[in-house]
């Protein structure tokens, strides 16, 4: 497939936004359980939510560039019963709203407990909205992953690993940003978020490597024999029927060399998984304020390459029909 930059930015940016929200809320849960010192609502949670919201909105903006007719985008909520894309279109604004509400509640200080469960768990509005936003965030990850995993013809994507990769890579980059965020604010959560970021990055590494290994030995269901229905071992396309360009020859071929694909693959493995883990480790040891930010930036660049490779790696069966110009 041809990697579309609009979709690469959409999926990576909302992944960071979702991950950052999950990181903030995880911090709140830990504070609630008295495992971490409580953070300032306005400085930490409200500002953090604003950063997460910014990433989500940027992702939404990137998605607009993917549409031929963005002015009709509102129509795409119609077929949520059958289309994962439609479901994503619905759940994305819901997530945006809930993250906004979560940040706003923290900003305006609605953190007084409404009631207390069993005398030990004080429930305030931010906790309720946070739980709802967490559910929404995971549903959004599920929808994004299923858009690709549900296409059975694209065998590289048609796997549960696709969904796990979206969840783990998004969460890893979000926790990485949370590490950088707490380091910049100078609060002592670098160790907490850094450890989570490393754990999630390594989990994403295992999951992504599993999908790379799966795709390396994939058995193609379609062949030129089934494509034209002729039973012979040697069939060669002499002409695809035209010499000019067409949608079929543009949309489904990445048009890059094998070597470049290989470099991008090795590049994203190093930049997404290894360099950020090392940088976060050093940042924690040296109590560096900016090194964690670099870890996030490097990981995000790695994720852009990872997403590019994700698309380029997928081979569409329609390509069988477009092997020879004349």
């Amino acid at each position: 497939m041809r990697p579309a930059f609009s979709v690469i930015f959409l999926t990576t940016l909302i992944g960071v936004g979702q991950g950052l929200f999950l990181a903030l809320f995880t911090g709140q849960i830990y504070s609630l359980a008295k495992l971490l010192p409580a953070q300032d609502s306005r400085v930490f949670y409200a500002t953090g939510s604003a950063v997460a919201l910014t990433f989500l909105v940027l992702g939404l903006a990137a998605s607009v560039f993917h549409l031929g007719r963005p002015e009709r985008a509102w129509r795409s909520a119609a077929k949520w019963r059958s289309s994962w894309l439609s479901r994503e279109v619905i759940i994305l604004p819901i997530t945006l709203f809930l993250v906004f509400l979560y940040g706003a509640l923290h900003y305006f200080g609605y953190t007084e407990p409404l009631f207390v469960i069993q005398g030990s768990l004080p429930v305030d509005p931010t906790l309720i909205v946070g739980v709802l936003a967490t559910i929404s965030t995971f549903l959004l990850f599920l929808c994004t992953g299923m858009i690709y995993a549900s296409l059975r013809f694209l065998q590289e994507w048609h796997s549960a690993l696709t969904v796990f990769n979206y969840i783990l890579l998004g969460a890893a980059s979000g926790f990485m940003l949370a590490t950088a965020y707490s380091a910049l604010l100078g609060i002592h959560l670098v160790g907490f978020y850094g450890a989570w970021a490393v754990v999630l990055t390594l989990a994403a590494f295992i999951s992504r490597m599993a999908s790379l290994m799966r795709n390396r030995t994939i058995k193609r269901k379609s062949s030129i024999q089934s494509a034209i229905g002729v039973r012979h071992n040697r069939i060669v396309q002499e002409s695809q029927g035209f010499m000019g360009g067409s949608f079929n020859t543009r949309e489904f071929f990445h048009g890059k060399s094998r070597l470049m694909l290989k470099w991008v693959k090795h590049g994203f493995i190093v930049l997404t998984f290894f360099v950020p883990v090392v940088l976060v480790g050093i940042a924690y040891r040296n109590s560096s304020e900016t090194l964690a930010l670099w870890a996030f930036v490097v990981q995000y660049i790695g994720l852009l390459m990872e997403r590019w490779y994700f698309f380029a790696d997928a081979s569409h069966p329609q390509n069988i029909y477009y092997q020879s110009i004349a």
Partner: protein
Amino acid sequence: MTQLALVIDLNVCVGCHACVTSCKEWNTSGWAGPLTDQNPYDADPSGCFFNRVQTYEIGEFPLTETVHFPKSCLHCEDPPCVPVCPTGASYKREEDGIVLVDYDKCIGCKYCSWACPYGARELDEKQKVMKKCTLCVDRLYDETLPESERKPACVLACPTSARLYGDVHDPESDVSVKIREEGGYQLMPEWGTHPANHYLPRRKTRIHIHKDELVRSDNPLEKEKISKLPSSEPTLDDITSW
């Protein structure tokens, strides 16, 4: 239920591309607006087509065979492009099974083209909506046309009648009989899309002649040769009275 479809006879197709040009001509001047081209008379031309004729070589020289292979939307009975459409612009008509795109609802997200294993859908780069073969739905029911012309443009254009059109759900229709009796098959059956369009394979008519059938033992001119026949078995002529 009706399922209109094409049956394409690969035994007859000569690869002349008349169906391609006829399709483009009809559909670019039809009710749904032009099928746009980019740089049509310049370097690097590109354009939107519903139908293409491809050419394949089967086998290795000298045992080769050329197959011309027309390819357009197959109007699947279980079309994978329809459920993925987020807006409902892609739909399969209940009454005749034609898969269509509502150009006024399509947002041009291209997701349906990813979901079609045959590459039957193209984005019109000018109108920015998805387009595909309509089976000339604007001809089929047009009562201003004489009844013989209420067929897809490609079918009318084909000089060798390699393209047949009809209801593949009616067991007695011409197309159903052809599929049944001439070995009609579907493309990429492994995906379970159940294409409505069928293809008829290349067929060869061979006659199997035994030596006995060429040589008559009662031919006086061949009497000597006959006696030299290696077989000691009685021939057909020995045991039958002609």
